[in-house]
Symmetry: D2
Subunit: 346 residues, 4 copies
C-alpha cells in the first residue's frame, strides 16, 4: 500500500483522482491540498464523496507533502504547479503532473504556446510522457511523469499504429475533436455557463490550441519524422467525453481490413484500448466513467482518406485514469488495478 497525495484536489481532475483511488486496493490517499478550501473537508467541496472520505483540504505550503506521500499527483494548473513539482522531484519524490508543464521536451515550444517562462528546464529531459501504450518501459522507472493532455491522448492513440508502420502521409493530417465541458475545468466563466453551452455546438481555437505541439511531438516520436497536423477542437454540451475524428492519407495498397488488423495487432494485450470491429465507429456514450479508449475506423476509398474515430472519457483516460494507470506502471501494480470498471451506461 502506497501513500499518495493530490496537490490541487478541488478541480475536476482532482475529484476524479479521488473517486478512482478510493477504489484502488494498493493506494491510500494521505494528503489533499486546495488553497481556497483549506480546512474544509473534501466532501464539502464534492458532496458526491460524502461518507466515503473524511480528509480535509490543506494549504499546499503547510502540507509537508514530501514527507507524507510516496507519490504526488499534481492537479495544479499549468505554471502554478511547476515549481511545486520541481521541488518534490529534487527532494527525491516521485510525481505525476497532470498539467502541461513537463509534456513538451523543448522549453521554447512551451514558452511560446503557454506564454510563460519555464523555470524547471533541467527536469524536461527526465520527465516521461505518460502514455503507457507508447512509453510503458520508460514510465516504469520514471521519477517524473507528465500526464498527457486530454485531446492528445485520443489523437495519438488513434494514429500510433499507422505512424509507427509508416502507412500514412505525415502531412495533411486533420484532428477534429469534440469535447465535453468538464475539459475546461471547474472555473466559473460566462462561456461555460449552462445556458451558453447547452443546445449549442461550437468550434474554438482552431489552429491555435495548445495541444497541437504536444500531439506533434509525440506523433513525430512514433513516426520517426516530423508530423504536422491541423487541430480543431469543438465544445459539445455533455459533461464528459472526447470524440476525435482523424483524417489522414492512407498509402496505396492498404485497405480497411489490413488497417484493422494492424490496429488489432498493435493494441493486442493493451488493457484499455478497444479496437472496434469493421463497421463500428466510436461513441463516447460507451466509455464514460471508464479508462477505455475505443477506436473505430472507416475508409473513403475513392480518395484513400482514412478516418479514425476515437472515444475517451476526458477525465479518466484523458486525465485521472491515465494518471493512475501510470502509477500502476511506476509501482509495479498490475496495470489495470482499480481501473477495470465498465463505463456508466446510460
Amino acid at each position: 500500500m502506497i501513500r499518495v497525495g493530490i496537490a490541487g484536489a478541488s478541480g475536476y481532475t482532482g475529484s476524479e483522482l479521488i473517486r478512482l483511488l478510493l477504489n484502488h486496493p494498493e493506494a491510500a490517499i494521505s494528503v489533499l491540498t486546495s488553497e481556497k478550501n483549506a480546512g474544509a473537508p473534501i466532501s464539502s467541496v464534492f458532496p458526491s464523496l460524502l461518507g466515503l472520505i473524511d480528509l480535509p483540504c490543506e494549504s499546499l505550503k503547510k502540507s509537508d507533502l514530501e514527507n507524507r506521500c510516496d507519490l504526488i499527483f499534481s492537479a495544479l494548473p499549468h505554471r502554478e504547479g511547476m515549481d511545486v513539482v520541481g521541488d518534490l522531484i529534487k527532494a527525491g519524490k516521485r510525481a505525476i503532473d497532470l498539467s502541461a508543464d513537463f509534456r513538451l521536451k523543448d522549453f521554447q515550444t512551451y514558452e511560446k504556446w503557454y506564454g510563460a517562462a519555464h523555470t524547471q528546464k533541467d527536469l524536461l529531459g527526465r520527465a516521461v510522457y505518460g502514455l503507457p501504450e507508447i512509453h510503458r518501459d520508460l514510465i516504469r522507472n520514471a521519477q517524473l511523469v507528465a500526464n498527457p493532455g486530454c485531446y492528445p491522448t485520443g489523437a495519438i492513440l488513434g494514429l500510433a499504429p499507422l505512424l509507427k508502420s509508416d502507412w500514412i502521409s505525415t502531412s495533411g493530417i486533420v484532428v477534429d475533436s469534440k469535447s465535453g465541458t468538464s475539459g475546461a475545468g471547474r472555473n466559473a466563466g460566462l462561456p461555460l455557463l449552462f445556458p451558453e453551452c447547452n443546445e449549442g455546438v461550437k468550434a474554438y481555437n482552431i489552429a491555435v490550441h495548445r495541444h497541437t505541439p504536444e500531439m506533434e511531438q509525440e506523433m513525430a516520436g512514433i513516426a520517426g519524422k516530423e508530423v504536422m497536423i491541423t487541430f480543431s477542437p469543438h465544445l459539445i454540451p455533455v459533461n464528459r467525453g472526447i470524440l476525435s475524428t482523424i483524417y489522414c492519407d492512407l498509402r496505396e495498397g492498404k485497405d480497411l481490413d489490413s488497417v484493422l488488423t494492424l490496429y488489432s495487432n498493435f493494441y493486442a494485450g493493451e488493457p484499455f484500448v478497444r479496437v472496434l470491429e469493421k463497421g463500428s465507429l466510436a461513441n463516447t456514450r460507451y466509455v464514460l466513467g471508464s479508462n477505455f479508449c475505443d477506436i473505430g475506423i472507416a475508409l473513403e476509398a475513392r480518395s484513400n482518406t482514412l478516418v479514425v474515430t476515437t472515444a475517451i472519457d476526458n477525465l479518466v483516460k484523458g486525465a485521472s485514469g491515465a494518471a493512475i494507470q501510470n502509477m500502476n506502471v511506476m509501482f509495479g501494480f498490475p496495470e489495470g488495478t482499480g481501473l477495470k470498471g465498465a463505463g456508466l451506461f446510460p
Copy 2:
C-alpha cells in the same frame, strides 16, 4: 463465490446489474438471458461492456437457469417474468425480482393497478419487500425478494423516520418526484425520443401512477396505520436520477433540528443513506452511479409543512444497486460489498 443469472439482461436494469456485478468479489455472472438477442454476445448489446465480459445472451427457455445459478435476478418486465420467477422459487432457488409482480401483498390491488391476473398468488405471502433499511431481517432469509420500485425507494426512505415515530400526519402527504428518462426502460417510443424530451419538463400520470399503492403499502407498514399520498411523477431530461420532494404536516412541538436528529439516529449505521446537514437539500448530481440515497430537509415553519428531499440514482439504489444490496444481505456478504463506489461527478 456464488453464481448468479440475470433473466432479461438487455434492458437498462440488466446492464446496470452487469456493471455492478463485474465489480463484486463474491458473485460471478453465469447466465444472461435475452430473447431478442439470443446468441449475441452481451457486449454487442451494450458496447460499454466490450472487453469486460464475454457471455452470450441465451434464450430463457433453453437456459436451464435453475441448475446454473445460486441466485437469479429477474429483470423481465412486469407480468412477463411472473411465472418464470414462480417456477424458480418452486424449484428451490432464491430470486430477486426487479419487476412489480411480487411487491404488493394484496393480489387484488396488483390486478387493479397492473391490469392483469396474478398467477402466483401463493407466493405473495413469502415475498419480502427488498428495502434493507426497513426489512433487513426478513431479507436475510428470504427466498424471494421483491425489489422496490424506483419512485417508492426515494419516497419511503424519505418518510420512514417520521412515519415510524408518528411525527407527521398520515394524510395529506404529497410526493412530487422528478425522474430521469432511463426509468422508462430501453424501449423505443415517440415520447422518449431525444427531441421530444430534451429541453422539456413534464408532469405525467398524476394520481394514477402504479407506484402509488406500493408506496402506501410500505408506508402503512412503517406507520402502523393507513397512509394516503398524492403522487406526481415528472420526466426530466437527464439519463439517471430521481429527486423526490415530499410534503407532510409536522406535528406541533417539533422543529427542523429535532427532525434532523431523528433522521440521523434512524439511519445511523446505514451504509447507503446520507442525511445532509441543515441547509443542504438533495441533488441527484451527487449520487449518479452510486447506491446512495441523499436526504435533505427544510421546514416551512409558518404552516409546519415539512419538506423532505431525497435523491437517488434510479438504476442503482432505485433498481440494480438495491438488488445487489439485497443479494449481499441474503448471502451474508458485508452489505456494501461491490457497492461502495462514489458517484460519477461531474
Copy 3:
C-alpha cells in the same frame, strides 16, 4: 410607433426583449444600456442578433433615456435599478420594471426578503403588478408596471380561478416549481457551470425563496383573504421553462370536470392562457419561445387533492414576453401584437 429603451440590456431578459421587439410592428428600440458593454454593438454581446440590429450599448448615465424613449423597460438587477426607475417616473415617463423592486406593496416585506432599504416607497402605491390576466384595467393606465416574477406568473395563473371562486382552501397550498437555468441570469458562478447543472436535478431555497411573498400577495388579492403557501423551487438542466405543480385542497362537491369548466370560463378570451383538455398535463416543451401559459389539471379524488400543472417559458411569459404584453395594454395595441408566435418545437 413608439420608441422604447432597455436599461440593462446585456442579460437574458434584455436579449429576449430585443428578440421580441424586433418582431413588433408598433415599437422601435431607440436605446440600449449596459455598463460593462458600453460602446460595443449589442450584436457583439448577443451574436444571435448579428445583422438584425445595429445599436451600440450605452452607459446608462449618459444615455439621456427620458428624452429618447416613450417607454423604458428596466432589466436592471433588483435594487440597482430602483432609483433609475424612480427618476424616470418622476420625470413623467412610463416604465416597466422587470426586477422585483416594485412588486411588493409593503416596503417592509420587500426590505425583509431583499435585504435592502427601499428608496422609492412613495411609488409603491402607484406601481401596478403587471399580470394582464388579473390586472388588465389597471395596467392600461399605469405609469409604472412591476413585471411579475417568473415563478409567481405560473403559480398565480395556475390558482387564480380557484382562488377567485373560493373553491379551495387557502392554507396548505404547495407550489413545487421546476425551472430552467436561464432564470438565474447571465452571471457566471460555479453552481451554474454546465457540468455542475447538467445531468442533475436539485431543490434549493425551499421555504426561503423571495418569490414567496410575491405569490402570497397576489393570491391574497384574488382570494380576498390571506393565502399561505409552501414554495419549493428546483433547478432543471434545460435553458428555458418553468413547470409548476401546485397542490391544494378542493372543497367538497367539486370534481375535475367542474374545475376544468371553471378554468375554461375564467380564461375564455385570454390570448395567452391555454387550458388543456382533461387528461393532459403541462409540458414546458410546448411553450418554449412562446408567450403561452399552459394549464393541465388532475385530481387525486381519494383525498380531494387538486393538482394544477402550469408551463411557461420563464424568459417570455415569465419575463420579457409579459413585459411586451404589458406594453401592448399600456399603449392600446392589440394585446397579442408581436407575441403570437408558436413555441419552438422541438
Copy 4:
C-alpha cells in the same frame, strides 16, 4: 396571399413549416396531410400549435391538394412522395419537395444511394436545386424546387466562394459535420432514445452517407469541375443545429484576410448568410430557430489548410426555412418575408 398545402405535416419539418408559415403575411395554410393522424387536429399532433391553428390533418389521397393550393410543400419521406410530387407537377402545380427525390440530377446516382427506382426521371431535368444563394434565378421561375438536404446546405454555403474562385484544391476536401437529433426525424427508434443519445457524441455513416453525392454535385456545379469530398456526420445531443467544419487546401498566395474579403463580397446582400469577423468561429447556439447560416474561418498557415466552420439550424435554413425562402423567391415576395426573426438565445 397564396394558399399553401403541406403533404406529410406530422414530422419535424412539417411542424417547422407550420410555425414559420403562421408568421408569414403572404401565405395561408390551406391543407395539411398526415395519414396516421388523419382526422385529428394538427394541434393534437403538435401541442405547441394549440390556439394558433385549427386545421385537421387529412388523408393525402382524399385531400384534393391540387385544387386547394397554389403551392405544395412535400415533407413526405424519400421515395414515398415521389409520385405525389410528380402528379402535382404534371397537373401544373408548383411544388417544393423537402425530400431527396429530386435533388440529384443523375437518376442512377439516386438509385445507387437511395436503393430505389426513380419513377419520375423526366422531371429531374426540370427540378431546381433550391439553394437561393446559388440558384436564385432558376428558382424564380421553377415549377419544382428540390429543397436541399440539411448537411449539404451548410457544406455548400461554406465552400461556394472558394470553389467559385478556384482558390482551393477540389480534392482532399473534408466535411466534418455535427448534427442535432431532430435531423433523424420524428421516428421512434432505439438509437434516438433519450438515454442512448444524451451525454454521448458519435460518428456514423462516415464515407457512406447519402448526402455525399448531393454535396459533390452542387460543389462541382459551382467549381466547374469534379469535386470529391470525405463526409463524416456525427450525432450530438442537442435538438437542433448543424455545425460543419470543413477542411481544404488553400492555394498559395492567399491568406485569411483575403479569404474573409472573398466571402464578404460573395455573400454581400444575402439576407441569411452572416460572415463572422476574423477570430470568430461558428456556434449553432446563435442560429437556433433562425434562418441564418453563420460562417467563421480559420487558417492553419503552416500547411495552408483552410478551416471553414458553418452553423445552421437544420430545421430552418437546413429544411423548412429554406423552403419558405424558396417560396418567397418563386412568388416574388421579398426574400426575407416571414423569416427575419432572431434565433432563440439562450
